[in-house]
């Protein structure tokens, strides 16, 4: 299908006028090529990222200037009240913000976009093990997009029982405005996302186990691949539980079963028929998935950050094996800590104590990872490129998020801070400060591979600096709110005297949040401009070691124009064995060569 020219650009054998419509559709729309699928995921999730961000501005607006008309976006997006956010609308805003960000952005951008794009390239395979399954894993996201998206518009209200969807609120239509059709659609969409993740997960595990290039042992895998691999395992073991729970909730709603509905409820002055269930059951099942899911949302990011740090510190990754064990430890412990979301739920307090100890223990592998990242930059020759800046900020922000986790893991403290802004601060530090920053770093880092062109560095740095500043302005203050007890999910917290004095601080945060969203324009402009007009990248613009950098940029169908053979791990920067400060995984030992022209080039 494609041939490779000397400058490392893949050109398709067909010229565009030979290209039939059917072929266009199989190449770019229903493509089974992991790279196209990866980019499809990337573009879809970035679009949803923007939508999720706008929903967040709606939330912040209400918290800063409650019940006042929201200019510009308000009348455009919002309810009939001419841009004023009603309490019903507010509950929908935070429900859908979290839903979109978790299920349509972070999980699919890590596993779907980067997992798809990078796994075959980084292990030296020509594609995924199951290309058709891979294609389907993208296309079942579309029913999810449509159902989640459509739930905004159905009669009544959008889904509005929180992203955690706790019954009985979520399972009884009389209980909440969004508990009507929208909640059902929400559950169906969630199932679609689950199916997509499951198809991806099976594919990634098989590909990583079966399709590694000769010489690519497990202990020579880049950390990115380790992150993806463990994530796939987590998905495979945790997801069925969520899917089952989702079906149970659907049954409660549609067929009048009572898995989660206790006896004798009186909602909205009418007595409920179903009964005999237990609301806490849902919480157990939900968090049995959703706690591992928070690691699904960070392990790949940790892997990508490790690769970026080593590359731009020009040093081997410090403690490769401990890093791998730490990931496995986090994943393993991740299965026995779900109860820390339920310390004040009414769960047996003795059980709370065991969950507390297990949760505390998870801080340990997190600490090991952090110290090894510091060890990686120690004694290096650090290049402050845009991806490096984002990776460094990941480390610092993850430290804050991990440390705030300790407050919440301490059960007595959690009595006070549970369901306050302290929690919101915690997960935004790990998910925005951590994962989203890593994702930006990864985009800047792998962009040359994806599109064959470089992104603009000065614009990237401006984007980094502004995002970093406004992010901390928005989220650090949330710790302070939480320490005063400021609850989350209140449409008007100032209804309570206790919190009235916190209004100015909230206004400050809202301004930061608006600016944070606004400064993404630097990213958007840079991204689209560079796709078309950025300087040509060549195969290995960063002088990195990974296999993907030996393939053409962008790689053609089948990825490699030679059979990659792996001689060493991916982090041999500044190895004494070679003159250059990098030593690609495919370069035969003691053979000096220019990697833009791989020594092992064999046409196939």
């Amino acid at each position: 299908m494609s041939s490779i020219t000397a400058d490392g650009q893949a050109t398709h054998a067909h010229t565009s006028n030979e290209f039939g419509v059917g072929e266009f559709i199989t190449t770019y729309v229903f493509s089974r090529d992991h790279k196209v699928i990866g980019l499809q995921f990337l573009f879809s999730t970035l679009l949803w990222f923007l939508i999720g961000g706008l929903l967040a501005i709606g939330i912040r607006w209400q918290l800063a200037w409650p019940w006042s008309d929201m200019p510009v976006i308000g009348p455009m997006l919002f309810s009939a009240e001419g841009g004023q956010i009603s309490p019903e609308f507010y509950t929908m805003l935070f429900t859908m913000h979290a839903t979109v960000m978790t299920f349509l952005v972070i999980i699919p951008i890590l596993a779907g976009a980067f997992g798809n794009y990078l796994i075959p390239l980084m292990i030296g395979a020509d594609d995924m093990a199951f290309p058709t399954l891979n294609m389907l894993s993208y296309w079942v996201m579309w029913p999810a997009f449509l159902f989640f998206g459509g739930s905004f518009f159905v009669a009544g209200n959008g889904a509005s029982s929180g992203w955690t969807s706790y019954p009985p609120l979520s399972s009884i239509s009389e209980a909440a405005p969004g508990s009507g059709l929208a909640q059902t659609m929400w559950l169906i969409a969630l199932t679609c996302v689950g199916i997509s993740s499951m198809m991806g997960s099976v594919n990634y595990m098989t590909t990583i186990i079966q399709m590694r290039a000769p010489g690519m042992t497990m202990m020579r895998l880049p950390m990115t691949i380790w992150g993806m691999f463990i994530t796939a395992l987590l998905q495979a073991f945790a997801l069925p539980v969520l899917t089952a729970a989702g079906f149970m909730q659907l049954a409660d709603r549609m067929f009048g079963t009572g898995f989660f509905v206790p006896e004798g409820l009186i909602v909205n002055n009418s007595e409920m028929a179903a009964g005999g269930g237990q609301p806490l059951l849902w919480q157990h099942l939900f968090w049995f998935y959703s706690h591992p899911a928070v690691y699904i949302m960070i392990l790949p990011a940790m892997g990508m950050v490790s690769d970026i740090l080593a590359c731009f510190a020009r040093k081997p990754l410090f403690g490769y094996k401990p890093m791998v064990y730490a990931i496995c430890g986090i994943a393993g412990l991740g299965f026995i800590v779900w109860g820390h979301h339920m310390f004040v739920s009414g769960m047996n307090p003795g059980l709370g104590m065991t969950f507390m100890v297990a949760t505390m223990m998870i801080a340990l592998p997190s600490a090991v990872k952090t110290f090894n990242w510091l060890g990686t930059i120690y004694g290096g020759k650090i290049q402050f490129t845009t991806p490096m800046l984002f990776a460094l900020s990941f480390v610092l922000m993850f430290v804050i998020g991990g440390l705030s986790g300790i407050f919440m893991a301490a059960t007595p403290v959690d009595i006070f801070i549970h369901d306050t802004y302290f929690i919101v601060a915690h997960f935004h530090y790990v998910l925005f400060g951590g994962t989203a920053m890593a994702v930006f770093g990864a985009i800047y880092f792998w962009f040359p591979k994806m599109f064959g062109r470089m992104m603009n560095e000065p614009l990237g740095k401006v984007h980094f600096l502004l995002t970093f500043l406004f992010m901390n302005g928005t989220f650090f203050t949330m710790h302070i709110l939480g320490a005063v007890g400021f609850p989350r999910r209140l449409a008007d917290p100032y209804h309570y005297e206790t919190f009235r004095h916190l209004l100015p601080m909230n206004q400050f945060m809202t301004i930061c949040a608006i600016l944070m969203v606004a400064c993404q324009i630097f990213f958007i402009v840079n991204f689209f401009y560079s796709i078309f007009f950025g300087p040509k990248a060549g195969r290995n613009p960063w002088h990195a070691n990974g296999l993907e950098w030996q393939a053409p940029s962008p790689p053609g169908h089948g990825n490699f124009d030679f059979q990659p053979i792996v001689y060493r791990g991916p982090y041999e920067y500044n190895s004494p064995e070679v003159d250059e400060d990098y030593y690609p995984q495919t370069q035969p030992p003691n053979q000096r060569g220019d990697t833009d022209e791989p020594a092992t080039m064999v046409n196939h």
Binding site: P316, V344, M353, M356, F407, P412, P487, E497, N574
Partner: protein, 227 residues
């Protein structure tokens, strides 16, 4: 809460995590400054890791964390497991019953006979009174969806689960009126599910109970009258 053990624990953790954060932050910025490509013209430290360092930085955090885990257990037990006792060794009965419903707190006092659901019970809405310096036990439940009974000023919070009867206890120490906040999403009106707890001396508390009871009788009487 009877004591300030939660605040104490919060500050202990704040100190510990604060030191760790400042330590790692300083180390990071120092490395970044020192090993900037533009400044560092020495050779790169070509190292794949260090066993000793890995052991050091696993064992020290493990010890600290284990200490924290054990240190907090007593406060948790006090808040959740050691229900106040009567002199005769029986668990102290609830002073009032709090029932969450969309979007208000129904409060029920058992009256002189100390039995709930008898004719001398006192009912109020969103208005809870408790005596100062006494262990207060409350029985809480919900009649529709989840709520959470949150007293920010008392560092007390307990989710209210329909179908489940739970007890919680605390010891108010300062007179005043404080917010009762709902901390678990319970529907569109969640934000306005606001109650008020009044802490007053034991004699004021008894006087209030009596007065509220009389008013209730009166209004029931006039209701009956009106029919």
């Amino acid at each position: 809460m009877a004591d300030n053990s939660i605040d104490h624990l919060f500050y202990v953790i704040l100190w510990m995590t604060g030191l760790v954060f400042i330590g790692t932050g300083l180390a990071m910025f120092w490395f970044l400054w020192k090993y900037d490509e533009k400044k560092n013209d020495g050779p790169v430290w070509y190292s794949h890791g260090s066993h000793l360092l890995e052991i050091i930085w696993s064992v020290i955090p493990a010890v600290v964390i284990l200490f924290l885990a054990i240190y907090q257990m007593d406060a948790w037990a006090g808040a959740r497991m050691r229900r106040p006792m009567l002199e005769n060794g029986q668990p102290k009965p609830a002073m009032a019953r709090v029932i969450g419903r969309q979007f208000e707190w129904k409060i029920q006092y058992p009256g002189d006979d100390k039995q709930f659901d008898t004719p001398d019970d006192l009912y109020t809405t969103n208005d809870l009174h408790v005596p100062r310096d006494e262990e207060v036990v409350l029985e809480i439940t919900s009649e529709d969806v989840l709520h959470s009974f949150f007293l920010p000023n008392f560092r007390e919070k307990q989710d209210v689960v329909p179908g489940m009867k739970q007890f919680l206890w605390f010891k108010p120490v300062k007179d005043g009126k404080y917010d009762i906040v709902c901390a678990e999403l319970c529907g569109w009106g969640h934000y306005k599910m606001k109650g008020r707890i009044t802490v007053e001396s034991a004699s004021d508390f008894r006087a209030w109970l009596q007065k509220a009871y009389d008013e209730q009788e009166l209004s029931e009487y006039s209701l009956a009258e009106a029919e």
